[in-house]
Amino acid sequence: MELNELYRDVILDHNRKPRNFGGLEPADASVEGFNPMCGDRLTVRLRLADDTISDIRFEGQGCAISTASASLMTEAVKGKTRAEALQLFDRVHQLLTDDAATGADELGKLAALSGVREYPARVKCASLCWHTLASALRSANPQALPAVSTE
């Protein structure tokens, strides 16, 4: 395993210039994720239109893997429905943990995270943002959303 498999250019780039970084006001959901092992801390905020993630931003501090993963995640899930986003989480989780994971191609830029697999201690860094997103999606109150409340 070579370090440049873990720290690919995409990862380094998203760490240096995280996309969708900062606050989001107002937000339909805001959840803070914390990894007590390493002190990584990030907040994911999102807006829903109907059932679709219309905007998502994150902020916090963490290692390169956790920052890049969050940045890539926000790009990947914007415009997706809740169900689609959660499905993507499953696929990313597989990519991070399962050597036999296939279909990395379909994951687009997220596939850059596949190097994490070789570093079990770092899987949590990459998945923190996804767990935080999942709990934000669960906590988002559909009643607060006019379009959904009528269904």
């Binding site: 370090l3 760490n15 092992m37 390493c38 002190g39 963490g62 290692c63 390169a64 893997i65 570093y119």
Partner: protein, 416 residues
Amino acid sequence: MNNIALAARPASFDVDALRRQFPVLSRLVRGKPLVYLDNAASAQRPNAVIDAVNDYERHHHANIHRGVHTLSQEATALYESARDKMVDFIHARSRNEIIFVRGTTEAINLVAQSYARPLLQPGDEILITHLEHHANIVPWQMVCEQTGATLVVAPIDARGEVHFDAVAALMSPRTRLLACAHVSNALGTVLPVRRLIAAARARGIVTLIDGAQAVSHMDVDVQALDCDFYAFSGHKMYGPTGVGVLYGREQLLERMPPWQSGGEMILSVTFAKTTYNGLPNKFEAGTPNISGVVGLGAALDFLQGLDREAAHAHETALLERASAALSRIPELRIVGTAPDKASLVSFVVAGVHPHDLGTILDEDGIAIRTGHHCAMPVMEFFALPATARASFAFYNTFEEIDRLAAGVERARKIFA
């Protein structure tokens, strides 16, 4: 029975010969010779310890203190001889002052629950410092919650130093206990414990010293220190995990009720009344970690066989070399620069998160610790989420420090 040969006293400090006694130091990690710089988290074991545990498991194991048969007597003798060695090692007055526990954490909890809890009244105070390990914070928070006592925290300065005056100023008529580290695990700071203990004693304040990071680096003499309690772990002094010591002044231990109850700590049980056993067994309920204690005894023999002055001088030289080598790296900041430090360096590198640094160094076979080091208030004080920490033992070399510095440079390039 316990035929561990004492290492011959070396004429000068021969690191290579010493390293050969630690089998793990010759292994490769990710194809590179291991550079083990995480000694503050847990030190490695020499053959003397591994062999003593092995010999015990193979030839002498039985439960202790309760058999007339040969094995039980041998096991008891081995276990109790480790207690005798410990009396010598920390200069306790007697065997009654050495309680074997699981480690520093359990030792502090024992004092919190058995000494402090029955004594504390609402409004009483427990004094600690800002640089304590969570193990010397949380047990006191718990006992404060249970009793209505207040936790008072003495400050550190920007170098991570604890000033005698700052702590003494917080000793009040309500202070019942001073609990502080001898050496900080997060910063390396050596605390002025001797003066603090004297000041506490003059005011009738009982003292507990968390010696987890001290016993491996310096000679600890509990009588000279004059503390009431001293807590430490076997695994940070080249012994096994799961075993440690609470030293307690006998008069205090005598008065304390047992903490846990069960076998070993009782003299007689009827359903109406139980009579507790005397010291030290009163505090060693249940079957203890016998092989761990035997291994710890072997670690003491090993340490006594070293030229400890030379070992200490070598560790100091390692600290100086590391501080100098790391300081030369641009964008690197050493966290914790007290004038009196044990041989560890906490640091951060701008643009490189400690966690990434840890992974990159591991790729070079270099083991350091990254994170908050179970001292989150210290991290908060320095406004850092985490640091990288390289901690040294007498078996480390200058070459290893150069490899550390080269590894840090490599990480900087990756993130440049």
